[in-house]
């Protein structure tokens, strides 16, 4: 080709050829990724040293694990001076760590509840499960309540009837006006729950008594308690957070003000103070004389706390959507709620998944704070076990175990969020 001549035309078209095979094997890879320059080499050597040193330090302790021992003294005797992990404490106190002081002959009830929880979550979490299974997810909370706390089956049924009452009122008055329908449904359900539930369940109990042995809240503890608070908090804080986020972006001044005040107040206060003042605060908002179950109180406070954070995460997602999406939805004639539900929220929530799951994980771990108000979560139980003469002086094993269980749950959530992000990826950018 003559470089002085600007005119040039290709005569032969170059055919596509296969990509050359990757060069070198392990050695080449290592040189490129591990020993690429003196700094990289130094870092590689340093990190390998640290990992090896930690493994060497931990190996004897772990390899000398003692599973069969009924007290720390027995453990030490078996070890005979050598260092080793005494997992016997987990084995010995296993039921207690799981269930707290739940009556042992009733353990089948929380176990069944947990198994059913998985069945109830499956259709929500995974698409492969037929959507009809969502019916089970809807009745699960009432059923789970009955299984764990026992008492009359008619109580949760009567509570569910409140939803039916609300739906009926909504259906009947929807034709008149939407505002009236929502108001009448809310008032109807509230009245039903405050006045009718006790009566209806008592009546039904007379006709056909179906009941389980009641278990008091103070007997519930361990991971059972963490999961009750965590799962309920997660399930309730997401919808509440969505409503708060929408409220904060609302153009109605009163709703906006209420949402902002709520979010800023709750976010500005440590959870632990909320937990301490739970009963005091709730007594202001609820009819006098209501005696509130301690676990219920904690669930409400944890939910409110998490929903304030959730609202801010979701607001970020909402703000990230281009205005055009709102305009297109409006121009098609979708009203506010339909536009939110069908167009805006699916996209905003998708953007917010990492933040939402982050809040969930935070909430789940925060359930350990309930020990400060006297509930027996795993950490509180660990303290109790260590106070016992048999296990006085045990330390690492309990906390490593509790940490590991929390890790499994939180890591599961994190993996699920990655799965969900991948499944919902439709932008193909």
């Amino acid at each position: 080709m003559n470089i002085h001549n600007a005119s040039w035309v290709r005569q032969d078209i170059i055919a596509a050829s296969p990509r050359p095979a990757a060069q070198g094997g392990v050695a080449e890879w290592a040189r490129k990724n591990l020993f690429n320059g003196w700094l990289s080499t130094l870092l590689t050597v340093a990190s390998v040293t640290i990992v090896v040193w930690m493994a060497m330090a931990l190996a004897p302790w772990l390899s000398n694990s003692i599973w069969r021992a009924n007290s720390l003294a027995e453990c030490r005797q078996i070890l005979d001076g050598a260092s080793g992990a005494c997992w016997g404490v987990i084995r010995d106190r296993w039921p207690q760590l799981l269930f707290g002081f739940y009556p042992p002959h009733l353990y089948w009830r929380p176990v069944l509840t947990f198994a059913l929880l998985i069945a109830a979550l499956a259709p929500i979490l995974f698409r492969a499960i037929p959507q009809r299974a969502l019916w089970f997810s809807a009745v699960y909370p009432g059923f789970a309540y009955w299984l764990i706390w026992g008492g009359s089956l008619w109580f949760p049924v009567a509570v569910y009837c409140g939803v039916v009452v609300a739906a009926g009122l909504l259906y009947l008055t929807a034709r008149v006006s939407r505002g009236l329908a929502v108001a009448s449904a809310t008032v109807g359900a509230a009245l039903w729950w405050t006045y009718a539930v006790q009566l209806v369940s008592a009546l039904a109990d007379d006709v056909l008594p179906i009941a389980l042995t009641p278990v008091a809240s103070r007997e519930i503890g361990g991971f059972l308690l963490s999961i009750i608070i965590g799962v309920t908090g997660i399930a309730l804080s997401l919808p509440l957070g969505i409503l708060l986020a929408l409220g904060r972006r609302s153009s109605l001044p009163l709703i906006h003000l209420l949402s902002v005040t709520f979010i800023e107040f709750i976010r500005g206060v440590p959870l632990i103070t909320l937990l301490f003042t739970a009963s005091l605060l709730l007594n202001y908002f609820l009819p006098p004389g209501t005696n509130f179950d301690l676990i219920l109180r904690v669930v409400i406070m944890v939910t409110l706390f998490a929903s304030a954070y959730m609202a801010e995460v979701i607001r970020g997602g909402l703000a990230a959507l281009p205005r055009g999406q709102y305009e297109a939805a409006e121009a098609l004639g979708l009203d506010y709620w339909k536009a939110q539900r069908l167009v805006i929220l699916p996209q905003a929530l998708k953007i917010s998944i990492p933040g939402i799951v982050n809040s969930f994980i935070g909430l789940f771990k925060d359930t350990t704070l309930v020990m400060f108000i006297g509930l027996l979560d795993p950490i509180a139980l660990a303290a109790a076990i260590r106070a016992n003469t048999d296990w006085q002086g045990i330390y690492w094993e309990l906390f490593i175990f509790i940490g590991a269980v929390f890790f499994v749950f939180c890591f599961g959530m994190s993996r699920y969020s990655i799965h969900l992000e991948r499944r919902l990826k439709t932008d193909h950018r």
Binding site: A329, L332, T426
Partner: protein, 263 residues
């Protein structure tokens, strides 16, 4: 029912109803804060009429047509669309939006839904058309804009021109009586502009009432019944296209046409 809807759509000819008024704007003013963006707008659009709106950037073209489906609120004057006056009454606004389709410069397709779902969304949720019929309706209009084979894809997988045609199909699925276009081709590469304009010309030939903000003067000459020139928030001149292009009356129109047509 679908059948009658469809045949109506394909062979509808509104032109015999020319005397009917589709949009009537009288003495309308709009401010953004203190900025008087639209000044004393008077405009009457008959059914089946095709109107092209042009004018320099910032002259208020978008704002005006967005007032017609109340994406923007006007502060004084009167806007009557399809016999319904636009006030702050939400029910009336929804009623108007059902009858008025809009196509945006940046398409604004819903990226989390497939093309087919984009087209079915409003018929199913707003018009309560049964799912199966909505699907047929959507496919009918996707065929009309010549992309039925993309129905299962997501918007992100389509070219700009294809996306804009889907956006047109999505609006048509609501069976609108009036279509608004806000610079539908100005975000597109030249080779895609033609496919979108062809779609719009076909729509015009079916007798749709159209208000179209565009700088495609070829399109204006081919299909417009009337061209409106706006400047500084006012309608400066309007005329049938032939007269508008050959003998613009106002000095500002002449200057504008000189700039965009390179004369």
């Amino acid at each position: 029912m679908t059948k009658t809807l469809m045949s109506q759509a394909s062979s509808q000819n509104y032109r015999f109803m020319l005397q009917d008024v589709a949009v009537e704007i009288t003495g309308m003013n709009k401010w953004y804060g203190e900025f008087h963006v639209l000044r004393d707008i008077n405009l009457k659009v008959r059914r089946g009429e095709r109107i092209v709106i042009c004018g320099p950037s910032g002259s208020g073209k978008s704002t005006m047509i967005r007032c017609i489906n109340r994406l923007e609120e006007h502060q004084s004057g009167k806007i009557v669309v399809d016999g319904i006056e636009l006030t702050s009454d939400l029910k009336k606004i929804d009623e108007v939006r059902r009858e008025v389709g809009m196509v945006f410069q940046h398409f604004n397709l819903f990226p989390h839904l497939t093309i087919l779902q984009n087209c079915m969304l409003a018929p199913v949720w707003v018009r309560k058309v049964p799912e199966k019929q909505a699907r047929e309706l959507a496919m009918h209009f996707l065929e009309k804009v010549k992309i039925p084979d993309q129905a299962q894809k997501y918007p992100g997988q389509l070219s700009g021109g294809q996306q804009q045609r889907v956006a047109i199909a999505r609006s048509l699925c609501m069976k609108p009586k009036i279509m608004l276009f806000d610079e539908p081709t100005s975000a597109l590469d030249p080779e895609m502009i033609k496919e979108v304009l062809d779609t719009m010309i076909a729509l015009a030939e079916d007798g749709m009432t159209m208000l179209c903000v565009t700088h495609e003067m070829g399109f204006a000459q081919a299909v417009a019944d009337r061209v409106i020139f706006m400047d500084q928030g006012q309608i400066v001149e309007q005329n049938e296209p032939k007269a508008f292009f050959s003998a613009p009356a106002s000095e500002r129109t002449r200057k504008f046409l000189g700039q965009i047509l390179g004369r």
